[in-house]
Amino acid sequence: MNLDWSVVAAHRGVLAAATGMTILLTVATMAIAVPCGIVVASVRLYAWAPLRAMATAYVELFRNLPLILLVYWAFYVLPIATDVGLSPFATGLAALALNVTAYNAETFRAGIGSIRRGQLEAAMALGMSRTQAVRRIVLPQAVRRILPVLASTWVSLFKDTSLVSVIAVPELAYVAMQIRAQTFRVLEMLTAMAAIYWLLGYPQAKLVDWIQRRYAVTE
């Protein structure tokens, strides 16, 4: 077999930019999906029943749809339905954030649910409001407990950003596939892509493991 790795070096500039886009998508999605996940989880746990039902419906809808379908749907249906034309980047980000928020909401809900009721009572017995007790006492413990799950979600998301390549967001998968199509260097480009994803993903996973060890709460 005749391999020519120079194709990777020749496109290093665009590959680097595409990698940057992949990282940006991951960070931006999480930046939306973590706070939104907390909000949705809190609504499901503490809010007025009709709101709670809406939050549940949201989670069950977006958690059970294939992400790629969500991406296509946001790209083709949303503009027709709402007359709002978003850029491919914004569309991809919206689809990812909707999906990951649903997962994070479940993660936070499980984390909050794992904190003994006595903790909330002890905080309220001091005179805290329920909101203060959740924010100051329950949530910090829950977050520490679910860090490993959030970390796996993060790493999954990092890889799943490749799905928005179907709507031409210039992230790593899309750009690598473009180069492959132009140069016919399939094996080289797929291998380069795999190497970049792995080299970036592995340290992220290790970093979060470290954070988890560092901030774990022992009882």
Binding site: R116, G118, Q119, E121, A122, A123, M124, A125, L126, G127, M128, S129, Q132, R136, I137, P140, Q141, R144, V217, T218, E219
Partner: protein
């Protein structure tokens, strides 16, 4: 001599026909009891007799289904904000400590003043240090709860409650989860608090504590108070069969210490 026998202060907490149900089960079936200022009232009785439930109704961690609980002459408010102020004035100590595991001992005690009283950090931490000193744990300020013994954790929990400058302290079986060798240190902190004149309602299985420190003892059985009176009456001359049964089941045959 019991404080009530000497001269009791004003009534701080008054329970009138308090009823609490969990579904079909009636946990409290009409409880009447007065707690006076400066008094230590001990609630004793078999497990499941309703004494912890009454304590948890006192600061509205549980709502009641009948009767009334008055705090300083006013019925417990339903309004959330007013209720928080009442809770602030009633310190509570739990059987399972319920220290906040993600905070050091110092920050456990400073958390209430910081969040509820909106004290500045330095002020809250100074107060927390003073409270830790009071329970004899100045040297453990930077320890997390996991690095403390059960007795130490419960003393931090007492300091945490005291940091809110409560008018009443509620103790829910404060020594039941402790190893025998650490029970004494918690009881002596409680005794010191009683000697300072703190009003205390104590659910306990420590009969010696109830006998020596209590001013008034209420014996619970099946959701009712079957007998109440000064400890001398309850322990030395119980008037009801239920009290005698309960005490003899515990192996109480007069004071052992």
């Amino acid at each position: 001599m019991s404080r009530r026998a000497k001269e009791s202060g004003a009534t701080i907490i008054r329970y009138r026909g308090v009823v609490k149900r969990y579904g079909a089960f009636e946990a409290l079936s009409g409880v009447d009891l007065d707690v006076h200022a400066g008094e230590v009232v001990c609630l004793i009785g078999p497990s499941g007799s309703g004494k912890s439930t009454l304590l948890r109704c006192t600061n509205a961690l549980e709502t009641i289904d009948g009767g009334a609980i008055e705090f300083e002459g006013a019925e417990l408010p339903r309004d959330e904000r007013a209720l928080r102020e009442v809770r602030r004035r009633m310190g509570m100590v739990f059987q399972s400590f319920e220290l906040f595991p993600h905070l050091t001992a110092l920050h456990n005690v400073a958390e209430g003043p910081r969040t509820v009283l909106q004290a500045r950090r330095a002020e809250a931490e100074n107060r927390a240090r003073a409270m830790l000193a009071k329970v004899g744990l100045s040297d453990k300020a930077t320890n997390y709860p996991a690095a403390l013994s059960g007795g130490q954790q419960q003393r931090v929990a007492i300091a945490r409650a005291l940091a809110m400058e409560p008018d009443v302290m509620l103790f829910d079986e404060p020594t039941s989860a402790l190893d025998p060798e650490t029970i004494g240190e918690v009881l002596s902190v409680m005794k010191a608090l009683a000697d300072e004149g703190m009003t205390m309602v104590v659910v306990t299985h420590e009969m010696t504590f109830a006998r020596r420190v209590g001013d008034w003892v209420a014996v619970f059985d099946a959701g009712r108070i079957v007998e109440q009176g000064p400890p001398r009456q309850i322990f030395d001359a119980p008037t009801t069969e239920r009290t005698r049964d309960f005490l003899s089941h515990l192996g109480w045959h007069g004071e052992t210490l």
